[in-house]
């Protein structure tokens, strides 16, 4: 026990401040009202879905929980089920074999069903594009609120995207139409 405590003390607190939000990442106008956002605050629960990535994005999502980025320290945590999630963090082009699973996870997520598409593949289909085996970008399968490009995006860019999804935004709070979703 003593070596563990000594190591913890020696390490100290290394967490860094969170980045500012970036409105440019938003793909739709903020559809949540100020009241809902205030309620949500920073107590946000994320469900990660790998829809077919190369696993590079997963490495950077893992890094969000390291002591430097300390995502839980700003009230954001990952859940094991979409039923517990406010936000889906989706990586990869959506592999054809994952299409049904991604739709089901989206259906199982309670409102407000925020979706952040991660990485060049999640945003555009990336280098894998669309084919018999790839449905391309995440927005081809479920509605997306925020897109975070990068191959892979850095942890700071990921936090920026997540925070943007729950920031007030500029424009109206109309519900988006659900075309493109299931």
């Amino acid at each position: 026990m003593i070596p563990i405590l000594r190591q913890i003390l020696r390490t100290g607190i290394v967490s860094e401040p969170a980045p500012a939000i970036d409105e440019a990442l938003r793909t739709t106008t903020q559809r949540l009202s100020a009241a809902v956002l205030a309620q949500l605050g920073r107590a946000l629960v994320i469900r990660h879905i790998d829809a077919g990535s190369c696993n590079g994005c997963e490495l950077e999502i893992h890094a969000l929980n390291n002591p430097y980025y300390n995502l839980e320290g700003i009230g954001i945590k990952f859940a094991a089920s979409p039923r517990h999630a406010d936000l889906l963090l989706v990586t990869g082009p959506v592999a054809k074999n994952m299409e049904v699973a991604v739709r089901r996870a989206y259906d199982a997520t309670p409102e407000p069903k925020l979706v952040v598409a991660v990485g060049d593949c999640g945003c555009t289909g990336g280098i894998f594009g669309e084919s018999y085996a790839s449905c391309g970008r995440v927005a081809n399968i479920i509605p997306v609120d925020v897109s975070v490009p990068g191959c892979p995006p850095t942890p700071l860019q990921l936090i920026q995207g997540i925070l943007t999804a729950i920031a007030p935004g500029k424009a109206a709070t109309e519900r988006r139409d659900s075309s493109g979703g299931s």
Binding site: P3, I4, Q7, I8, T11, V14, H48, I49, D50, A51, G52, S53, C54, N55, G56, C57, E58, L59, E60, I61, H62, A63, N65, N66, P67, Y68, F78, A80, S81, P82, G92, P93, A95, K96, N97, M98, E99, V100, A101, A105, I127, F128, G129, E130, S131, Y132, A133, S134, C151, P152, T154
Partner: protein
């Protein structure tokens, strides 16, 4: 050139980093060779198919099988009939062939004569007769279907099934695990993978050599350096443009940095899976320090696109070299301290020891390779067995453990971190000066192979150009093909809650073999 007293004349290929030999065989010769290779305890590296109907109307398909021979890489090609292409089932001598054969059927439409013929990469989401790697298969889209897969049922009083996935509870890649359990005990695990199949091999077709390197580097992102290097070796064999020595030393530097980064992450998660979140936080901190220096010196945290055909895209100056040496020193000290904490932590050791065991005899039978193989006394490490520059000069020590449990796989990682830090210091101090790249121009109708020991095991890239110099066929083989079946054995008689720990101790790629 002949191997194992088999009457097959192999042709050595020029311009390959590892000695590489190819031969055309008939089915009888192939089976005799497989028998001899099995007896001689050589191993199957990879198995894949190709469509050759434009070159040979009668034998329109081909099956390629690569073996790790004492002398180097030997690739046998078996021509298959255009009508109803079939090949002998190789899963008996080499169990790892099972899934690769099923993938060959899904992609090319050539099937083993008997044995397991269930689809592997195809999940009912495109028609059975749609073979994506046949040249005349058009681009097409199909409606997604939820597949009913024929899992092997375990029957008996009190036996029940636990289905897990494809979407898992953590930040993990998708795959399906079907456990048959009695109480807490796992009687059987059957994996259903292929969820991430996104048609990479079809995507390669008609790409230029340079463009292909980017795609190869994204087959399995955690092994991007290993893939990019293996691909570049294959591309350089095709172009005949060997990279300058400094580029090879820089590649080794990048490869060892990738190995250390992944091992650090795994050691953290292994601690986390036995409820020692202290370990996760400490190792993830060290990993972050490590990859931040990657970003500073080489412009990318995971080192993507740093290796290109002909050389490398990044160089190292004296200031960078010093930063690396300093970091190796600091990291080495911290890992030594943390290893002592892991070693002395009774709760952690209790969960690690004897959990998820693959005995050396079983590992040999299954053909377990790479890190997991070395934890079960399988002496496979290309850096030691077939050292190319600069490993012939670096002479790495192979990390070997015999217990084959979670603890052994953790120990191999600790030993490999220490060895890699030693290698990195050596690379930085002995790296030759000079240019870092040559121009790699494509050559028409040529084959090239690349073979690199990534952090998980050996990655093979088999590349072939067409008459226009563009990619005709590119097969990327991930070591996870061999090791996933071993995980099915490792969990037998363990309790279900230990599965995440055992799975993490292998940390296999889903994206790599799903392609």
């Amino acid at each position: 050139m002949q191997f194992l007293d088999q009457p097959i004349d192999f042709e050595p290929l020029a311009d390959h980093a590892a000695l590489t030999f190819v031969a055309r065989v008939n089915a009888q010769q192939l089976m005799a060779f497989c028998g001899a290779a099995h007896t001689a305890e050589r191993r199957l590296v990879a198995l894949w198919g190709s469509d050759e109907r434009d070159r040979d109307s009668q034998n329109g398909y081909a099956l390629h099988i690569a073996f790790d021979m004492a002398e180097g890489l030997a690739c046998l090609t078996l021509p298959l009939a255009t009508e109803n292409p079939q090949f002998p089932d190789l899963a008996l001598p080499f169990p790892a062939a099972n899934r690769m054969q099923r993938a060959v059927h899904d992609l090319i439409g050539a099937a083993p004569e008997n044995g397991d013929r269930r689809p592997w990469l195809r999940h009912a989401n495109w028609p059975a007769e749609f073979y994506p790697l046949r040249r005349d298969t058009p681009d097409a889209r199909f409606a997604a279907v939820n597949e009913e897969y024929a899992f092997v049922r375990v029957e008996g009083d009190g036996v029940h099934e636990v289905p897990v996935g494809p979407i898992h509870a953590g930040i993990i890649e998708p795959g399906h695990f079907r456990f048959s359990v009695m109480g807490e005990n796992v009687l059987r695990l059957e994996q259903r993978l292929g969820w991430k199949h996104k048609g990479i091999e079809r995507r390669f077709v008609n790409m230029g050599l340079g463009e292909g390197a980017k795609l190869a580097g994204r087959v399995s992102g955690d092994s991007t350096v290993a893939y990019a290097w293996a691909y570049s070796q294959a591309a350089e064999a095709i172009s005949g443009a060997m990279p300058p020595p400094r580029a090879l030393w820089l590649r080794a530097l990048l490869l060892e940095r990738e190995r250390v980064a992944n091992h650090l992450g795994d050691l953290g998660y292994l601690g986390n899976d036995v409820a020692l979140s202290f370990g996760l936080m400490q190792f993830m901190r060290l990993k972050e320090d490590w990859i931040r220096l990657n970003a500073r010196l080489f412009g990318h945290r995971l080192l993507m696109d740093c290796i290109i055909p002909g050389g490398v895209a990044v160089d190292l100056d004296a200031v960078g070299a010093q930063a690396i040496v300093d970091q190796c020193q600091a990291l080495g000290d911290e890992v030594t301290d943390l290893k002592q904490i892991y070693d002395e932590h009774a709760g952690l050791q209790d969960r690690f020891l004897t959990t998820g065991r693959i005995l050396p005899s079983l590992a040999k039978l299954l053909g377990v390779i790479g890190l997991a193989g070395r934890a079960s006394a399988q002496r496979w490490d290309l850096r030691c067995n077939h050292p190319h520059e600069p490993y012939d000069r670096l002479e790495p020590k192979m990390a070997i453990e015999r217990n084959g449990d979670v603890a052994a796989r953790a120990l191999v990682r600790f030993a490999e971190i220490r060895e890699s830090l030693h290698l990195i210091r050596k690379i930085v101090s002995e790296m030759p000066p000079g240019s870092i790249g040559n121009l790699a121009r494509s050559t028409a109708d040529k084959r090239g192979f690349g073979w690199i020991e990534g952090w998980r095991g050996d990655v093979l890239v088999a590349l072939e150009t067409g008459a226009d110099g563009k990619i005709r066929r590119c097969h990327c083989h991930d070591p996870s093909w061999q090791n996933w079946p071993a995980l099915e054995h490792a969990v037998i008689d363990n309790i279900v809650p230990d599965f995440p720990l055992i799975n993490k101790s292998f940390n296999l790629s889903y994206a790599g073999p799903d392609l």
